[in-house]
């Protein structure tokens, strides 16, 4: 399992556009991928799950990937978060 903490720097928090881009980029991976915020853990492949967290600006989230392609998945996550400009990783 690989795990990493990200700080969400976008003033609007984890909002629709970046969340959609992130979730959309992960469906191809086999690994289980989760995001945890304030003791609540959701499936990062689920847009409804991610939106239900309502992550505000400046907060930290823990993302974990577990499975055969976990390293690749984490790379994708870091890239998308940076491309979308919502986290400095």
């Amino acid at each position: 399992m690989v795990e990493k903490t990200f700080t969400i720097t976008d003033p609007a928090g984890m909002h629709a556009r970046p969340a959609s881009a992130l979730v959309g980029s992960l469906s191809k991976f086999q690994s289980d991928i989760t995001m945890e915020f304030k003791d609540k853990k959701v499936n990062l492949k689920s847009i409804l799950g991610v939106m239900s967290l309502g992550v505000p600006s400046g907060s930290q989230v823990q993302i974990a990937a577990d499975g055969a392609d976990e390293a690749e998945a984490m790379e994708t996550i870091e890239r998308v978060l940076q491309e979308q400009g919502i986290s400095n990783a």
Binding site: P11, H15, A16, R17, S20, V23, G24, S27, V42, N43, K45, S46, I47, L48, G49, M51, S52, G54, S57
Partner: protein, 568 residues
């Protein structure tokens, strides 16, 4: 011929046959199924069909409307492929041996309830997404047809109970000439979109669905909020003429978009826009605004549960300043209190909130909050032509105190090595009679005045503008108001300063000729009024209007002023 009326939501006249957009009956019954595996497959096919349909709608919307509007279907597609939605549904079919319709309905209701319970507008819209997607899949399961407006290829006007976001983004102005809904108001999602697409619309018509049949010829008058069914020849001719006249007027105004505002005798005045958020910039530029005469920063503070940070404010102010590309941008510092409250700032209840702790009074009472805003403004100042304006100034002491805080923050930033513009003008709103009366003294210290007429009228006439029983006292043309306006303008000009106006009155057809005669330098109004005002000013002579001022100020009542201007 018969008539209906509703709320005028988007300007213009549409004449076409009616197309009823009906939402099919999607009532769900719980049934037990003998073969859950087959039921899961049936559900899978309905999802696949829905995905295929959404891909087509998304593509059409992107081609015919915009990429941005197509995004909503991108979101629907993600929801349809969400393992947290699909997983529980198939599990439920399997473990409970229930039909797919019931499993879908139960699971999506849970998500809808969850999103709707959240105290956040954005999350509530997600509930609408889940509901929209659920309907689409249900329709496929039940074998009923959902109408998709993007598939219409005839000229029609749409009649509907209400339009869902997924309906409205599919409206192609080439075929959809207008729409009527039974519910909704001027600020509902569909009304706003109608104005963006520039198609006429009447909302809140109440009985359109129960009284208009498919194919009936309908006239929508989006200017008056009127609907005419089955018009006779004479009415049809009358409205075709009205339609041509409206198109002609719009074309005439559009020609003025990139023109300077010049009176008939060649005097330049400045037409600015009032905005609330950086999003409003588009409207300002599309309507040829020469300035922003009032940026109401309180919207940054509203609809959230804590104060906006310096960085958030800096981002918003910079976006507006950059977007205006060097054109004057007057930013009003926080005007909160009175009728405008913040959930996270508990202020004691007041007996007379409009006469209480609000605007600059509150900011001087809470200097830390105020300093944060001033720092954000100063940092943003290098991105454009910033002018800072303090609201609700009643005494010169208040202005001096606010300006001192501004200069302190400027010095601090410069000491930190942050670049700050050296040419920021600092002015005040004139909305309290004491300040209007003392304008000559203020003019020696401020860089400009902006007259806020809504409050100036309320305080001068001692009439609460929220109280309907005294609404007759809201009299912008009352000579008392006009004399105060003259005092302010004259005082500013004597010191080589300028005066703007940013209330409703600045865009008012009757007031514009008077204000021109009084020498007002800048008129700031809602963006959609700018081209109309520019057109009106091009037909007025400033010298002529100056000649009428003395007579107007000598009239006795508001009605006499109105009648006199109408007679010119």
């Amino acid at each position: 011929m018969s008539r209906l009326s509703g709320i005028a939501a988007s300007n213009g006249i549409a004449i076409a046959k009616a197309f009823r957009l009906e939402h099919p009956d999607l009532t769900v019954d719980k049934k037990n199924v003998a073969d859950p595996q087959a039921e899961i497959e049936r559900f899978g096919s309905a999802v696949d069909e829905s995905i295929a349909e959404l891909e087509v709608i998304k593509k059409r919307t992107a081609e015919q409307i915009s990429e941005k509007e197509a995004d909503i279907f991108g979101a629907h597609l993600l929801v349809l492929q969400d393992p947290e939605l699909i997983g529980p549904i198939t599990d439920k079919i399997k473990t409970d041996s229930v039909n797919a319709e019931f499993a879908l309905h139960e699971t999506s209701t849970m998500f809808v309830d969850m999103f709707e319970a959240m105290d956040n507008e954005y999350m509530k819209e997600r509930a609408a997404d889940v509901r929209d997607v659920t309907k689409r899949v249900l329709a496929h399961l039940l074998g009923v047809k959902i109408q998709n407006p993007s598939l219409i290829t005839d000229e029609v006007v749409i009649i509907a109970e209400d339009l869902t976001p997924s309906d409205t983004v599919q409206l192609n102005p080439q075929y959809i000439k207008g729409f009527i809904t039974d519910i909704g108001g001027r600020t509902s999602h569909s009304a706003i979109l109608a104005r963006t697409l520039e198609i006429p619309a009447v909302v809140g018509a109440k009985s359109a669905m129960s009284s208009i049949q498919n194919g009936t010829i309908v006239i929508i008058d989006g200017l008056e909020g009127e609907i005419l069914l089955d018009p006779d020849e004479a009415t049809l001719a009358e409205y075709k003429e009205k339609q041509t006249a409206f198109a002609g007027q719009k074309a005439e105004w559009a020609k003025l978009k990139n023109e300077a505002t010049l009176t008939k005798d060649g005097v330049a005045v400045e037409l600015g826009a009032n905005i609330g958020t950086p999003k409003d910039l588009t409207g300002v530029l599309e309507n040829g605004g020469e300035a922003i005469g009032l940026y109401r920063t309180e919207f940054l503070y509203m609809g959230r549960d804590n104060f906006p940070t310096e960085q958030e404010q800096f981002d918003a102010y910079s976006a507006v300043l950059k977007g205006m590309e060097g054109k004057p941008t007057v930013v009003r510092t926080l005007d909160i209190g009175g009728d405008k409250e913040l959930s996270y700032l508990k202020l004691p209840k007041e007996l007379n909130p409009f006469l209480g702790l609000r605007a600059i009074r509150l900011c001087l009472e809470m200097p830390d909050m105020f300093r944060t805003q001033l720092r954000a403004l100063l940092r943003a100042s290098v991105h454009g032509n910033l002018k800072i304006m303090f609201p609700m100034i009643a005494t010169l002491d208040e202005f001096r105190e606010a300006k001192a805080l501004l200069l302190e923050e400027k010095a601090k930033l410069e000491a930190e090595g942050v670049e700050v513009s050296d040419s920021i003008e600092v002015g005040i709103m004139v909305e309290i009679p004491s300040t209007a009366v003392m304008a000559d003294t203020f003019a020696k210290e401020v860089d400009f005045f902006s007259i806020g007429t809504n409050d100036l009228i309320q305080y001068t006439m001692a009439a609460d503008r929220m109280n309907e029983s005294v609404s007759y006292l809201y009299q912008p043309y009352n000579p008392a108001i006009l004399r105060l306006v003259k005092t302010v303008i004259d005082a500013s000009h004597k010191e080589g300063k300028w005066t703007g106006m940013c209330g409703e009155m600045a865009g008012d057809e009757i007031a514009i000729p008077i204000l021109l005669g009084l020498g007002l330098d800048e008129f700031s109004m809602s963006a959609s009024s700018i081209l109309k005002a520019r057109s009106q000013l091009s037909r007025l002579s400033k010298a002529d209007m100056e000649g009428h001022v003395e007579h107007i100020l000598g009239l006795a009542t508001s009605q006499e002023v109105e009648d006199y201007v109408n007679s010119l």
